[in-house]
Symmetry: C2
DNA sequence: ATAATAAAATACCGATTGGTACAAAAATGT
DNA sequence: ACATTTTTGTACCAATCGGTATTTTATTAT
């Protein structure tokens, strides 16, 4: 059991993890532009100085939210890309998944933050840039794996393919979040990414 | 000459066209999210009630700005699409133009308004939907003209092609506005739209 | 002159924003 | 009992948001 250090002072009761979970969900379904520190405090049932002590300010909060979202939502979604499926089949699965109804808020918080870099603090902006590059690298690696398997169009530079995949997936998520018809969004993305598949001839 | 109606009351001095021009430029380079009625009044050198008399409120202002932008920037840009160029050549020209440095604020105000439908009033939102459909129709007509000329991939439904062109052009404008490398944006779009061109074989 | 009318700006409204000074509360040490 | 330390919340700050009641200004009609 824990040694019970018998610290002086009022015992800590603020649950950082719970606040972060509430904040992440809030930013996710209301959108980063419509959510503020006041509303987060109200939803989490804590005072504003409490939130500032824990996260240092709005920038620190959104940066922490982004990290939390990345760790709990984005990174797990990369798992399947490393599995032993064909590139074309996996691509189709991703597009179907992105345009399907899920039990979570519509759209992707990371995509929303990327397309609304306004009123996001410098710390959050820097984090976005780092994670965006990491995301492109994952897609590029996925494409390169398809390359050695001969499952993709070898005429496309892997770096450009990673960039294209990132852009198109982000576009799909934005269109879905805007309420566009899901099947139209999916078909449009299928067309846009057909260039990555080997020629039909 | 005008009959000089000798109206009673203080003569009108507010220049609606000039205010609209100032407001449009302001929304264009600052972004619809960062610009408000107070700042527009300051830049135009008029009082707030004056702006409210002229446009009825923020929603009326942004709707008028959108109309002005559409008439002076967007619609003229449709002109070349009706010219006697090949579909592939024209497409390449559009992408080059979108990713080139121009003497106007970066990005497209219409694209910015579309991707930030938040905090835009109902009148402006309705206008956006109408103009978006009009834009897709223009692209679809362009594709259909290429179809009868045998210059495009006949396997693609024209409606889907119009949707794809609209989506990809908007994506290009957003990426440019975000400061992404122009050549990377252009090459990525070229790949995404290659599906509309006839097969190489 | 003076009344009537129309168009303008001054000066305000309540709500909300991100951020903080300061005091109350809850534990331990003496 | 009382001081010390740590954590928390109350109550405030100035700035900004969209919007408006009211007054001033400038003109014509009488």
């Amino acid at each position: 059991m824990t040694p019970l250090p018998k610290r002086r002072g009022r015992p800590k009761t603020l649950d950082r993890a719970r606040i972060l979970a509430v904040a992440t969900e809030s930013y996710w379904d209301e959108g980063p532009a419509s959510m503020g520190v006041n509303e987060v405090c109200r939803r989490a049932g804590i005072s504003k100085p409490g939130l500032y002590r824990e996260f240092g300010g709005e920038d620190g909060l959104t940066a922490a939210v982004l990290d939390h979202y990345w760790a709990t939502v984005i990174r797990p979604s990369f798992q399947p890309l490393a599995a032993e499926h064909s590139f074309a089949g996996m691509l189709d699965g991703v597009l179907t998944w992105l345009t399907s109804e899920r039990g979570v808020p519509a759209g992707c918080l990371f995509a929303k933050m990327r397309s609304a870099p306004v009123n996001l603090g410098p710390e959050t902006a820097a984090r976005i840039a780092v994670l965006r590059d990491e995301m492109r690298a994952v897609y590029q690696a996925w494409f390169e794996r398809g390359l050695v398997q001969g499952e993709v169009n070898a005429a496309v530079e892997p770096e450009l393919a990673g960039y294209l995949l990132d852009t198109q997936f982000k576009t799909v998520q934005m269109l879905v979040a805007e309420g566009e018809p899901h099947d139209l969004v999916r078909e449009q993305a299928r067309l846009a990414l057909a260039c990555l598949l080997p020629s039909e001839q």
